[in-house]
């Protein structure tokens, strides 16, 4: 059969209805008002970052009549040297995708490329900032969940629980995003340690260890399992996870089973507590469903316009997955009185009464970053240059 016209790199002949182009090499024509593609960097069942996106995509399928999903997992050169975002996108477009979400900042560059290649397809790069900086073509937007607040809550839960006053943070690789998330967690922890437990925040030890990538690559990154083990051995009793996967809570569960008093706060995915519920203090998670649904809607009826969205929580109900973009769900491991204090904290943040990003905040090297009494701007938070004073661990 001759190569289909729309697989040759030329944009698909989108007719006025905006319906997807017919493509014979996909075997069956794409049904429904919208075919959309989601590209994952990790496995779709990693109980972390990638699975959260997979569930978000599923949410669209469940709530948008006839929406048709093309999912592609594990797109990273380590797992698939032969695969490229462009190749995957080509195929998705060939199958009629008119909306494509690339769900990692790994894809930021390449997404720009394909966005230029397919001007009639809408692209969303998660956690990128090209739409903010204006480099992006008109058909490329960014979304990120405002996880900072949830991380602050998570940090608070950790601080309310720790017996040894030592919290360990399992960091992925070092960049702006990971720094600011770790920092938010620390600020939340410091606030609650001081205000609810009445202890001196200077005594709170908050250690960050970076494994070297978003998830474990054997022989190349530090093995998160061993980092977590080492955390507990060194006296840390609460591990917060900042990586895509669940080693943190896995090890904690193991230790608890062996009788140690340890807890963990996983990350990314609502269901992340399941590995070891009893010692899970709760999980700050991304709830992509609502944002994805909104996107899909707007693309389907042609009303989408480029934007850089930093979607926050529904403070009224942090676990309402139809409305909130990021969530916090407390785990069975959180004690009743800790829960009480945590509720106060959450209420405070909801009302704006509490903003952990209020100065004085110094960088790790001691230099002042946020002046006393001032609240940090979005840019200041987004582009945090170092870890903060009081946090242990490398900034670069």
């Amino acid at each position: 059969a001759p190569p289909p016209a729309d697989d040759t790199g030329a944009p698909p002949p989108a007719d006025d209805t905006g319906a997807p182009a017919p493509s014979d090499d996909a075997g069956e024509p794409a049904p429904g008002p919208l075919t959309f593609g989601v590209v994952l960097v990790g496995p779709q069942n990693d109980r972390g970052w990638s699975q959260a996106h997979a569930e978000g995509a599923q949410y669209v399928v469940d709530n948008l009549e006839g929406a048709n999903l093309i999912l592609f997992e594990l797109l990273n050169p380590a797992d698939k040297p032969e695969a490229t975002l462009e190749g995957v996108v080509d195929d998705m477009v060939a199958q009629g995708a008119t909306l494509i979400l690339t769900t990692s900042d790994e894809f930021e560059e390449d997404t720009m490329g394909v966005a230029e290649k397919y001007p009639d397809v809408t692209f969303i790069n998660i956690s990128g900032d090209d739409a903010l900086t204006g480099e992006a073509p008109d058909n490329l937007g960014n979304i990120m969940g405002r996880m900072e607040d949830m991380k602050a809550i998570a940090g608070c839960a950790a601080a309310l629980t720790t017996q040894t006053g030592q919290i360990g943070y399992l960091g992925p690789l070092i960049n702006f995003e990971t720094r600011r998330l770790a920092a938010s967690a620390y600020l939340g922890a410091r606030y609650c340690y001081e205000n609810y437990r009445g202890l001196d925040p200077a005594d709170l030890q908050f250690t960050v260890t970076w494994i070297g990538f978003w998830f474990n690559i054997p022989g190349v990154t530090l093995d998160p399992t061993e980092v977590a083990t080492n955390f507990f051995d060194s006296g840390i009793d609460v591990i917060m996870s900042g990586i895509d996967t669940t080693e943190g809570i896995d090890v904690a569960g193991q230790r608890a089973a062996a009788g140690d008093a340890v807890w963990s706060v996983p990350y990314d995915f609502e269901g992340a507590c399941e590995t070891a519920p009893d010692i899970c203090l709760g999980v700050p998670y991304f709830n992509w469903g609502p944002s994805y649904l909104a996107l899909a809607q707007s693309v389907a009826d042609g009303t989408w316009t480029q934007s850089w969205d930093w979607n926050g929580a529904n403070w009224a109900n942090l676990t309402d997955n139809d409305t909130t973009h990021v969530g916090w769900i407390s785990g069975p491991g959180l004690s009743a009185e800790a829960q009480a204090s945590l509720d106060l904290f959450i209420a405070g943040m909801a009302s704006g009464g509490i903003n952990v990003w209020t100065g004085p905040i110094n960088l790790q090297d001691g230099s002042a970053y946020i002046a006393a009494g001032q609240a940090a701007t979005d840019e200041q938070i987004w582009y945090l240059p170092q870890l903060l004073e009081g946090m242990t661990g490398p900034s670069e």
Binding site: P218, T225, E226, E396
Partner: protein, 324 residues
């Protein structure tokens, strides 16, 4: 005393090293019989996956370990058949199986990724566990650790203190001579290749069911190669191999510790430690620089020093046996 940072870390290192000890012992037995089974890495992945999947679905740890051992033995059987019966290059077959094992485990395990599953619990030995320092390190671990220690001891005894052990070593040193003494070399090599494979299988399951609980793609990747290197470092002796496993475990946790305590070095740098260690120890045991150093020593010490440091592989390692 027993709850100091050092003791806790040592205990963890010992536990982390347990599966490696098992794998190293398995491969040591195989290579002592004259067969190189290079497929360790792939075998371990397959076993880790199988062990978890079976234990998860049946809820029985025992079945999990058995299944893993079976898979390990099966892979080993392929190597044995290919190299002993079909007289093909052992390294080639082992290498292909390594890559195949990685892909196959990823594929077959895809629906069991990161599920919370059963795991081997801790078992403290009464009284002994309270011994100063030794207690927490040796007697407050999980069954896998105890198994590893016993296995290493048993393997050492078998190799160096029994008639079958002599046959086994003979088959790897000089098969034609072993044959002349009534050993059936082919059968021995099959036996110990498969047994070694089964043990490596157990090692793989030990990760997914005890040390790095659960399954994920590439769960144990790289560790098989490490084990192969340790076999050499261990001079094909289970005891020394166990030591090697511990040394390796120690270095890995050092990498973690360093990140907190060494400033001004890129975080990434510390991940190089295990690999530098691998090259380092192999240089130590096999390069003839050591021999030259030895020549500086007084003759009395020379022999002992070399015996301590240097190792020589079984002479017929990887050499096919044509009978007569």
């Amino acid at each position: 005393m027993n709850d100091t940072l050092l003791v806790r870390i040592l205990a963890s290192i010992a536990l982390q090293a347990a599966p490696l000890m098992i794998a190293v012992t398995g491969e040591t037995l195989t290579e002592r019989a004259g067969v190189v089974n290079l497929s360790l890495d792939g075998k371990m992945l397959m076993a880790a996956m199988t062990g978890f999947v079976v234990a998860y679905t049946t809820g029985s740890l025992i079945l999990g370990f058995l299944a893993a051992a079976l898979v390990g033995a099966l892979f080993a059987l392929i190597v044995a058949f290919g190299s002993i019966t079909l007289k093909h290059n052992q390294v080639a077959i082992g290498f292909v199986l390594t890559l195949l094992g990685a892909d196959l485990s990823a594929f077959l395990g895809q629906n069991f990724t990161r599920l919370p599953g059963p795991s081997v619990g801790k078992f403290a030995v009464p009284y002994l566990k309270d011994l100063p320092v030794l207690g927490p390190i040796f007697f407050n671990q999980n069954a896998i650790f105890y198994f590893a220690i016993l296995l290493v001891a048993a393997a050492w005894w078998w190799l160096f203190r029994t008639q079958p052990g002599l046959h086994l070593r003979g088959a790897g040193e000089r098969p034609e001579a072993a044959f002349a003494r009534g050993a059936s070399v082919t059968r021995l090599r099959y036996l110990y290749t498969v047994l070694g494979g089964a043990l490596v299988g157990v090692a793989g399951a030990s990760y997914s069911l005890g040390i790095k609980i659960g399954w994920s793609e590439g769960h144990t990747a790289g560790l098989g190669w490490i084990a192969l290197a340790i076999v050499i470092f261990g001079g094909w002796s289970p005891a020394r191999g166990a030591l090697g496993a511990v040394v390796f475990g120690a270095t890995k946790s050092l990498a973690t510790v360093f990140q907190q305590n060494v400033q001004g070095v890129s975080v990434v740098a510390f991940n190089t430690l295990p690999w530098l260690l691998m090259i380092g120890v192999l240089l130590l045991v096999s390069s003839d620089w050591v021999a030259r150093v030895a020549n500086l020593l007084p003759p009395r010490l020379r022999g002992g020093f070399l015996r301590l440091v240097q190792v020589t592989p079984p002479r017929a390692l990887g050499v096919e046996f044509g009978q007569e």
